[in-house]
């Protein structure tokens, strides 16, 4: 049986000030499934992502990532789950300026103590896949925004995570590039059999997902593009 990559059950979260973001939120992501979450600014889309990543704690509810309940884990164990099971794509790319492209992409493997030569070779393959194989020795400052996000996609996939968390991946890109990047992201994630949780307020980006959900204070409801 195919295991669920992510299962959220009755998750609630309030802000430190007391304002409730959402309550009784349920979500199940099957392997290979791509889900887009949309919502107004400030409804807690990013907070939800952080809770899934184990960087923020929910007030109540159960969060299972790759079969493990985050609630029972300490900080180090959560970090290990993030390192091994999750890949990130950010709105602001966050490519380390002092590493070249191959080193940037290989970085998650290095964190897993994969020998460097192997890690760099694998990073090269991923860079080939996003069309930047020729520029693996370049530094980030030589790249355009779209290119940087391709590097980020390669980095998110290099360690073959089960889950990709993408937070507004096209937020800093022009519409044409955004379209290409979303296509590349969707295709790449699919190819590697990972699931993806995409947070965005862009209908175009959300449209690439298998299903679209709307984040409301009462949980996720199906959205219609």
């Amino acid at each position: 049986m195919r295991e669920d990559v992510l299962r959220l059950t009755a998750v609630s979260k309030s802000l430190p000030g007391g304002r409730r973001l959402f309550e009784g939120l349920d979500l199940v992501l099957a392997a290979g499934e791509q889900v887009a979450i949309r919502g107004e600014s400030g409804v807690g889309k990013s907070t939800l992502l952080n809770i899934v990543a184990g960087l923020d704690a929910a007030d109540s509810g159960e969060i299972m990532v790759a079969g493990r309940n985050l609630a029972g884990l300490d900080e180090t164990e959560r970090t290990v789950i993030r390192r091994d099971k999750i890949g990130f794509v950010f709105q602001a790319f966050h490519i380390l300026p002092y590493l070249d492209l191959a080193q940037n992409v290989a970085f998650p493997l290095i964190l897993q103590k994969i020998p460097r030569s192997k890690a760099i070779a694998r990073a090269g393959e991923l860079l080939d896949a996003v069309g930047l194989g020729e520029r693996r020795r370049s530094y980030p400052k030589e790249l355009s925004g779209g290119e940087l996000q391709r590097v980020a996609i390669a980095r998110a996939l290099v360690h073959e995570p089960a889950l990709i968390l993408a937070d507004e991946p096209t937020g800093n890109l022009d519409p044409d590039t955004a379209e290409q990047i979303m296509a590349l992201l969707g295709r790449s994630v699919k190819q590697r059999g990972a699931a993806m949780l995409l947070v965005t307020h862009s209908p175009t980006a959300a449209a690439t997902a298998d299903r679209q959900l709307l984040l409301t204070p009462h949980g996720l409801v199906p959205a219609h593009g």
């Binding site: 990013s46 952080n50 990543a53 960087l55 923020d56 900080e75 180090t76 970090t79 290990v80 993030r82 390192r83 091994d84 999750i86 990130f88 950010f90 709105q91 602001a92 790319f93 966050h94 490519i95 380390l96 300026p97 002092y98 590493l99 070249d100 080193q103 970085f107 998650p108 290095i110 964190l111 103590k113 020998p115 460097r116 030569s117 020795r137 530094y139 980030p140 400052k141 925004g145 940087l148 980095r155 937070d167």
Partner: protein, 842 residues
Amino acid sequence: MAETGGGWRWLIAGELRAFPMRFLLAGLAIAIGVALAFAVHVINRSAADAFGQAVRSVSGGSDLQISGASALGFDETLYPRLMALEIVADASPVVQLRAMIGEQNKPITLLGLDMLRALTVSPNLIGRTSAEAGEAEAALDMDALYLSETARAQNGLRIGGRVDVRANGRSHSFTITGDLPGVDAGQAIGVIDIATAQWRFGRLGMLDRIDLKLAQGVSIEAARRAVETVLPGSARLTDAEAESRRGDTLSRAYRVNLDMLALVALLTGGFLVYSAQSLSVTRRLRQFALLRTLGMQKRALGAQLLGEGALLGIAGSLLGLAGGYAIAGAALRFVGGDLGAGYFGGTSPKLHFAPMAALLFLSFGIATAVAGSYVPARQAARIAPAQTLKDAGDPVDPRAAPKAWPAMALIALATLFAFLPAVNRLPLFGYLAVALMLAGCVAGMPWLARTLLRPLARADSRLPSLDLALHRLLGAPSQASTALGGIVASTGLMIAMAVMVTSFRGSVDDWLASFLSADLYVAAASNEASFDAETQRRLADTPGVAGIAFSKSLSMTLDPELPPVLLLVRPVAGPGYELPLIEKARRPGVGLALWLSEPAARLYGARPGAPISLPIGKEGEPARAYVAGIWRDYARQQGAIIIDARDYIALTGDEMRSEAAVDIAPGASVPAVRAAIEARLPPDLAGRVSFAEPASLRARALALFDRSFAITYVLEAIAILIGLAGVAATISAQTIARIKEFGMLRHVGMTAGQILAMLASEGALLGFIGVTAGITVGLALSQILIHVINPQSFNWTMATTIPWALILAVVAALIITAAGTAVIAGRRAVSRDAVRAVREDW
């Protein structure tokens, strides 16, 4: 620019509000540099003024002076010969002595004058008979003593009273008849009749000075030529200006040293401004890009940063000037005008503000701050707006290998300069060598860092923290070298000073040990020559005394442009008198054997065996002599020459001595011998003689050494602290600027501990490279200080002693500072909020 003026101020204010500490530190460094430089200047100006005033006071307003080449003076027959010269309108013969009056043992300058001559030649020295002294006592009264106000105040004496005056080993009672209204405040001067001075103080037939008043229309130069024709070897022509200049010569090297330290502080300030500004530019690149997009001119942007630098410079420099003036005031009060170095004995200077110098140092401070802002300003002006709206990397391409040759060229030039001679008795090239060496080392840091780090980075440590740290240092070379430059410069200077001072102190200690080999030393109060031949014989016969050697010192002018050397009269070999010889003449020369101290030999360019003439011969003719040897001396920067006591007596007949070194017979105790000697002193010497044992003399000498280095220590400590603070500020600022990076690293699976380990590794690596380079350059600099700057400034050499323990401590302190600062700054950056930073935009 007008339309951007408002925005300009707003931006500066915003930046200041956002990062007050960084700017405060940079401004403070500028302030400290300016303060030190200005304080040194003001103190010296005040001291030199006081010294010049003392010289002028004693000369009493005469046009020109003839002075004895030595403290022995010259034959009085020169006086009528000078009077016979056409160019001389009048001449005033003077006997000048150092004297003690009353019970307080505060020395005064005692002048024996012919009032009738002084009346026209040096009217400022004419006494004013006080009404209360009675009408009978007046200027030609042979027992009248006129005392300047300071001399009376220092010794608690009143006009009308009687007082004992002691000079040249004799004592005589005088009536304080009046004051010296023409003598400047602060000068302790007494005036008596010349005949009484010669008679009562053992100066019959001798004069120490003749003041000249030149005939109308005679130029000083013409007068000099005419006077030279009658001048014997025992006398020299001087004027008040040259005297002041000699005082200046003596302290100049010391002063320049202090100025250099102040300059280091100022440059450190400049570096801090540079580092603060470049970080702020890096951080604000997007802000600037936006401003450029919104239509701000390139030049306006650069001008904004230069303006920030200038404001910082003005604020810092003004603060520095005020601080410097305050420091000068405090130093004059508590340390003295020579900053503890003992150059201006006996004068108590008043604080003088120096407006021109203030302006100069103000502009220095501003220029330094503006210069520090120049490179960042250019960088900001050059940004391409569109490009910069993305994440910016290091402006330097990490793949390009940094060039080693500029650093090599600077170091080569430094080495060359280190071998050049002094300019005008100042080690200008030596200082230049230090500056170039430092600059070379800083310039070489990118290359050195890459050379050292690349092999490490290639090795696969499987430690992600270390790996990432190495890659960051290699991948952001300009940020790394900014931090490294600070570490290298401050370590280098710290090590250099530490090695120099340790070597100096060690050499002084060794020198003291060899110089103070007797068991007991006896000195007459204030080094008056007090032991006559009879007393010497009596003391030599004291029970328990195995050997006793008497000595005295007198100053002597060999070159009118140089401060007088000290002639030390003592047995060359004998109890308690060993010479720490550096060099010896291979064979005896012609005439008397003289032993020159190292400073004397260097000042007068004398080699062992070379002939030298001594201006204390019979009949005023110089005595022929040769340099028998050169000995180490750290006590007398003006130089000292040792003459054997027997040669000296044969030459001058002068048997008065002021000090004695005693070897104690086996079995006798020091206190017992001391008491026995005290009992054998003539009554007028009893209680006016001090005893010292080598240990206490040594402790006193070292305390004196430390005192004269106190200001150097303080300046150095301040420079180093600024340097360390700068390193800490640079590292922490760089760390804080990386907050988003840490957020991302946490996302992709680095633990907070790993990030801190990475930062600590970065800091430690930086510290390690910086300190390694710093020690190397520090040792090189210490050799320049020891072998170039010290000999050229002070004319003495020393043996290198390396304070390993201190260096290790310094190394540890720096690495810990660098790593610790990075970790402390990192803790803030890795906090929970940092996680959100990945989403934050500007």
